[in-house]
């Protein structure tokens, strides 16, 4: 049901995830519209917006806005808490997460999202279990890493 979930920093899209098939142009248009609407909101306003036939649920964490577009009959409050739980997961994983973590480790942010939400529905709401799954994957990763060349180490390739 969750059509998209994305994270916006100062009008820039940092991460987006779509749970319906749309063309790239449509996606860009929707992103623009939603960013505009959400950034125009003042503090203390309610966290829900009607947009086309969907509802936008958003929450601001420091400089980042997290938004979900959900169907009309979806539960708004639980969607807010979906956002919060995702932020908690990021926070736990990166250790007090900031925008830079998400920019430099965008692929990780995606994995965490996939472990938590799939096809627009919460897959696993236990924080421990999600983090354990991600950590296990990281273990696999570290085992697989071989030492790299000097050139690579300084980041020239």
């Amino acid at each position: 049901n969750r059509n998209e979930r994305r994270r916006i920093g100062r009008g820039k899209l940092r991460l987006q995830k779509w749970y319906v098939a749309l063309s790239d142009t449509q996606k860009k248009k929707i992103s623009r519209e939603v960013i505009q609407m959400v950034l125009a909101r003042k503090p203390k306003m309610c966290s829900f917006l009607e947009w086309r036939d969907l509802k936008i649920v958003y929450k601001r964490y420091a400089s980042l806005y997290f938004c979900c577009a959900v169907e009309d009959q979806e539960n708004e409050l639980i969607t807010l808490e979906i956002i919060h739980r995702y932020v908690e997961l990021l926070d736990k994983y990166f250790g007090s997460v900031c925008e830079l973590d998400i920019i430099f480790n965008f692929e990780k942010a995606y994995y965490i999202l996939d472990e938590f939400i799939l096809g627009g529905e919460a897959q696993e709401t236990s924080k421990k279990i999600v983090l354990k799954a991600i950590e296990q994957a990281d273990m696999l990763q570290e085992e697989a890493e071989a030492p790299r060349s000097v050139l690579e180490e300084i980041g020239l390739t």
Binding site: H84, D101, N105
Partner: protein
């Protein structure tokens, strides 16, 4: 540099990202990206085979570039290669790239599917999950074709790991959403339902989402999920907050799962089995009770999670619409939220109350909050909350509070946000018309609307006021006087000029006696606005002038002069020129008689659905408006209501609209004069045999004590009803919802009714499939009318006959009475003709509150403290028919031990007693 770099640090990627971030201008960024793209392209094309790590790094860079908003047209092949890598990180990046940059290139799809297939059969849970996530993220048709039978197998296999089960469940959900035809239902369904019993709450959470989606489409296949869901919910709501360990979220036990279970239950009617129903009611009560407890934490997450469950429980209560106590409790709870300091809660409470307002059981309870809602209209700082307040006022409006609500909406309109003005204008216009007791108030309201928000008053609104003024001669003089006064304002809105021109042209004569509004004064007043108006308004004014020539021969000369002037006769606009020429000519050559015939007062408009209502609904269709009709139950009807009709079809149903059912015996002596129809001149009275078609009545009984709901539902069609009755008149809105994706052709409907009722179906053409029946009760009747529907679907003609829930008790007006009056009258009745007594076994539980609600729903007033025995119920009301009014007294003596009730009805007229008694006892 990254603040934290976990796992593999792809330094090259990090450096690239830093470079991009350091770019001072957009141009510099594009330059840097193009350089990188050229670099990657050459690496991919180079002779030297790249190792997995490099491939992964470059694919990841491409992904980053894409996420910045640039197009990527290569690298897909390399990403697909990564899928078959045996290194986890490489596979992961490959899948991520595929998930984000879906490409329908068929060659690649085959390769991707192959890789997925390998991973699914790898028996490595991490790989299986990656593959399932990819299917769920892409969800394309090709993938559904390849995996729609494999995924359910994984889901129900005994040896599948929990995490894989969760992924498989949601993966199947996605495939079912995108290509339902490819996902086979079958032997696995019952095993999926049993996942609700799984030990692992994560599995239950994922499975509940899947089952909800499937159950919406095939409720019968998943019926067994109801009892399991209730059991599961009950265990959650009664658990201590520590029982569920990590599934407890800020002291709330498994909020996500609870919400999902409550959603699943909304796919079904209330459970029939008493034990399950009782357990569910307990759960809902517990949730309502918890809302009253002091919070266990001050964190907003705690209150959000707790209230998320509460709101979902309230949705379920509204969906069931059967437990008056719960509905009223829900309403009180929401009432508390209306003044909560959290904006979110105020918003949601207003929204949720809107649906409560449409339930008979809670409408009155909602109305008690009117002052708070009006206050939020005035004080809320957030326009979306104010919008909800407007919606709620609209939903709670009825005859008793219409004046207050309309006044408040009008005063809000003066300062309302531009974005919602038009909608408010429509709502005010509808309420003013619907609940107008005297039409002078209606006319005042609409003129106020034009004054306050003229630009937002659409054509439909001012057309409608003219229709109503023309149809009601008691208001014409007042309307003429009022528009005349309004036009005195130095600057008035063009819409007012239109209404004024039209009304004075028709009814100016009614105020011409007063020298202050003599014909000449009226004319000069209108003409003083002429040059400020647009062409269509000027054209309308010209017509008003020629009507003046007929009404007031004394101003003929003046008007002819105006028509003759160059600015009219030689006007550049062809329409204006033509009108001027023709009207001038007509006034010169026609005799007074001819003039009087041609320019006669407009005939009354046929009664039809308000064009404004249609407009509001159209607006709602675009998703911007929520409306009374927009209760969750009716969503299906509205969402799919695109039944189009071919132009030749008998949409109006006039031809056979009032065919008389010859089978029903005339129940009264007034029969001959009873069939009154607006269109009676052209009516062939076709006799329809009683044996003609099977009449569906299964939902009929549900409507005896209520007015709204779903009357009929099949795989093709859903018919929803909203009706309202007042004295001997009724109006029924029928909503036809096409549940299929194809069109119904030649859609037509007709109503067959026994004599004492008349119904004229009028259906606006076009896409809106709503039909309105106006109903009048002429005398006593037993047989309810039948709605026949015919349409073509997939080459075959479908015939459906449904009995419309128009029963005698709908025409009740409740009457309050003192105990003394009641028994005095009761004693005056002479059995057996005037009193009917029946003893019957209670079909439903004999709960006091329910019985009370049913008696009120039946239409009589519930008289408290009248009967000396407090367990007895006493009611009184008057049935209105066109010809007579019949008083009715009612006593119900329940005997709880024997589950038997004795009902006695006393009536002034013996004809009525039998029909009413049978109604009463069958449905109570």
């Amino acid at each position: 540099m990254p603040a934290v770099s976990k796992g593999d640090g792809m330094r090259g990627l990090a450096v690239f990202i830093s470079d991009i971030r350091n770019c001072k201008s957009k141009e510099a960024e594009i330059k840097r990206i193009n350089k990188e793209l050229a670099n990657i392209r050459s690496k991919f094309k180079g002779d030297k085979a790249l190792d997995g790590y490099s491939k992964k790094k470059y694919v990841c860079k491409l992904l980053f570039i894409f996420l910045l908003g640039h197009d990527i047209d290569f690298g897909h092949m390399e990403a697909v290669n990564l899928l078959s890598s045996n290194k986890y990180t490489e596979k992961q990046i490959g899948y991520l790239f595929i998930s984000v940059l879906v490409n329908s290139n068929s060659d690649l799809i085959r390769l991707i599917n192959n890789a997925i297939k390998n991973d699914l059969s790898s028996r490595n849970p991490t790989y299986m999950n990656l593959a399932l996530h990819c299917i769920a993220n892409v969800g394309s048709r090709e993938m559904a074709e390849a995996f729609a039978s494999e995924v359910p197998r994984i889901l129900v296999a005994g040896d599948t790991m929990d995490s894989v089960k969760q992924s498989a469940a949601l993966c199947l959900l996605r495939l079912n959403r995108t290509s339902p035809d490819l996902v086979p239902m079958g032997e696995w369904t019952s095993r999926v339902v049993h996942l609700l019993n799984d030990q692992h709450l994560g599995v239950v959470t994922a499975a509940t989402s899947l089952i909800s989606t499937l159950a919406q489409k095939n409720p019968d296949d998943f019926k067994t999920s109801v009892s399991l869901a209730v059991a599961r919910l009950s265990r959650i709501v009664t658990s201590a907050s520590t029982d569920l360990q990590d599934y407890t979220y800020y002291f709330v036990a498994a909020p996500w799962l609870s919400v999902k279970l409550l959603r699943l239950l909304q796919c079904y009617p209330p459970p029939e089995e008493g034990a399950i129903r009782g357990r569910l009611t307990e759960c809902l009560e517990t949730i309502l009770n918890k809302a009253q407890e002091p919070p266990k934490s001050k964190k907003v997450q705690h209150s959000n999670a707790k209230n998320a469950v509460l709101f979902e429980a309230i949705s379920l209560i509204i969906h069931h619409d059967s437990e008056p106590t719960l509905l009223v409790r829900a309403c009180n709870q929401l009432g508390q939220f209306l003044q909560h300091r959290e904006t979110n809660l105020r918003y949601l409470a207003l929204e949720s109350m809107c649906t409560l307002a449409s339930s008979e059981f809670s409408h009155e309870a909602v109305k008690t909050h009117i002052e708070t809602v009006i206050n939020s209209l005035k004080t809320e700082r957030d326009v979306s909350v104010r919008q909800r307040a407007v919606d709620l006022l609209y939903a709670m409006c009825d005859r008793s509070n219409a004046k207050q609500i309309v006044t408040e909406m009008l005063s809000y309109l003066e300062t309302a946000d531009y974005s919602i003005r038009e909608e408010i204008v429509l709502k005010v216009a509808i309420l003013a018309e619907k609940y107008a007791v005297d039409y002078t108030w209606y006319v005042d309201t609409i003129l106020n609307l034009i004054r306050i928000a003229g630009d937002y008053v659409s054509e439909e609104v001012w057309y409608r006021v003219i229709q109503i003024v023309i149809n009601r001669d008691d208001v014409q003089g007042y309307a003429a006087k009022t528009v005349f006064e309004a036009l005195q304002a130095p600057a008035c809105h063009e819409n007012l000029v239109k209404v004024g021109g039209y009304i004075l042209g028709e009814f100016g004569n009614l105020i011409a006696g007063d020298p202050r509004s003599s014909p000449l004064v009226q004319f000069h007043l209108l003409h003083s606005k002429f040059h400020l108006c647009s062409v269509p308004t000027r054209a309308l004014l010209l017509s008003a002038y020629v009507k003046f020539i007929n009404l007031f021969p004394e101003v003929k000369g003046t008007i002819q002069e105006v028509l003759r002037s160059d600015s009219q006769l030689r006007n550049a606009d062809v329409e204006l020129q033509q009108r001027a020429v023709e009207y001038l000519r007509l006034s010169c050559i026609a005799t007074t008689d001819i003039l009087a015939t041609v320019l006669e007062e407009m005939p009354p408009f046929p009664e039809r659905e308000s064009s404004i209502l249609a407009k509001l609904k159209k607006k709602k269709g675009s998703g911007t408006v929520s409306d009374i009709e927009d209760s969750r139950k009716e969503r299906n009807v509205n969402a799919n209501a695109n039944v189009t009709s071919s132009p030749s079809s008998d949409l109006l149903g006039l031809g056979n609209s009032s065919a008389v059912n010859s089978a029903s015996p005339p129940t009264s002596s007034h029969a001959a004069s009873l069939l009154v129809d607006v269109f009676s001149e052209s009516l062939p009275v076709a006799a329809l045999g009683s044996a003609s078609a099977h009449v569906i009545e299964e939902n009929f009984s549900r409507f005896v004590c209520k007015n709204n709901g779903v009357l009929f539902e099949s795989q093709l069609l859903q018919i929803g009803l909203k009706s309202e009755f007042r004295q001997n008149l009724g109006r029924m809105y029928i909503f036809y919802g096409n549940k299929t994706s194809t069109q119904f052709l030649n859609f037509s409907s007709s109503v067959v009714c026994p004599e004492p009722l008349t119904a004229d179906p009028v259906l606006d053409g076009g896409a809106q499939l709503q039909q309105i029946l106006n109903i009048e009760c002429i005398s006593d009747f037993v047989e309810a009318p039948v709605l026949n529907i015919q349409f073509r679907y997939g080459g075959s003609t479908q015939n459906i006959s449904v009995r419309l829930p128009v029963t005698l008790n709908k025409f009740f007006q409740p009457t309050e009475m003192t105990s003394q009056d009641f028994f005095q009258r009761w004693k005056q009745l002479s059995p057996p003709q005037q009193e009917v007594q029946k003893i019957f076994k209670a079909k439903h539980s004999m709960d006091t509150e329910i019985t009370k609600a049913k008696i009120i729903g039946f239409g009589t007033a519930l008289l408290d403290g009248v009967d000396p025995n407090p367990s007895n119920f006493v009611g009184a009301g008057v049935i209105h028919t066109k010809t007579i009014q019949v008083g009715c007294l009612l006593r119900l003596e329940p005997n709880t031990q024997a589950q038997v009730s004795t009902a006695a009805l006393g009536l002034d007229d013996l004809h009525f007693s039998e029909s009413l008694a049978s109604l009463f006892h069958t449905h109570l």
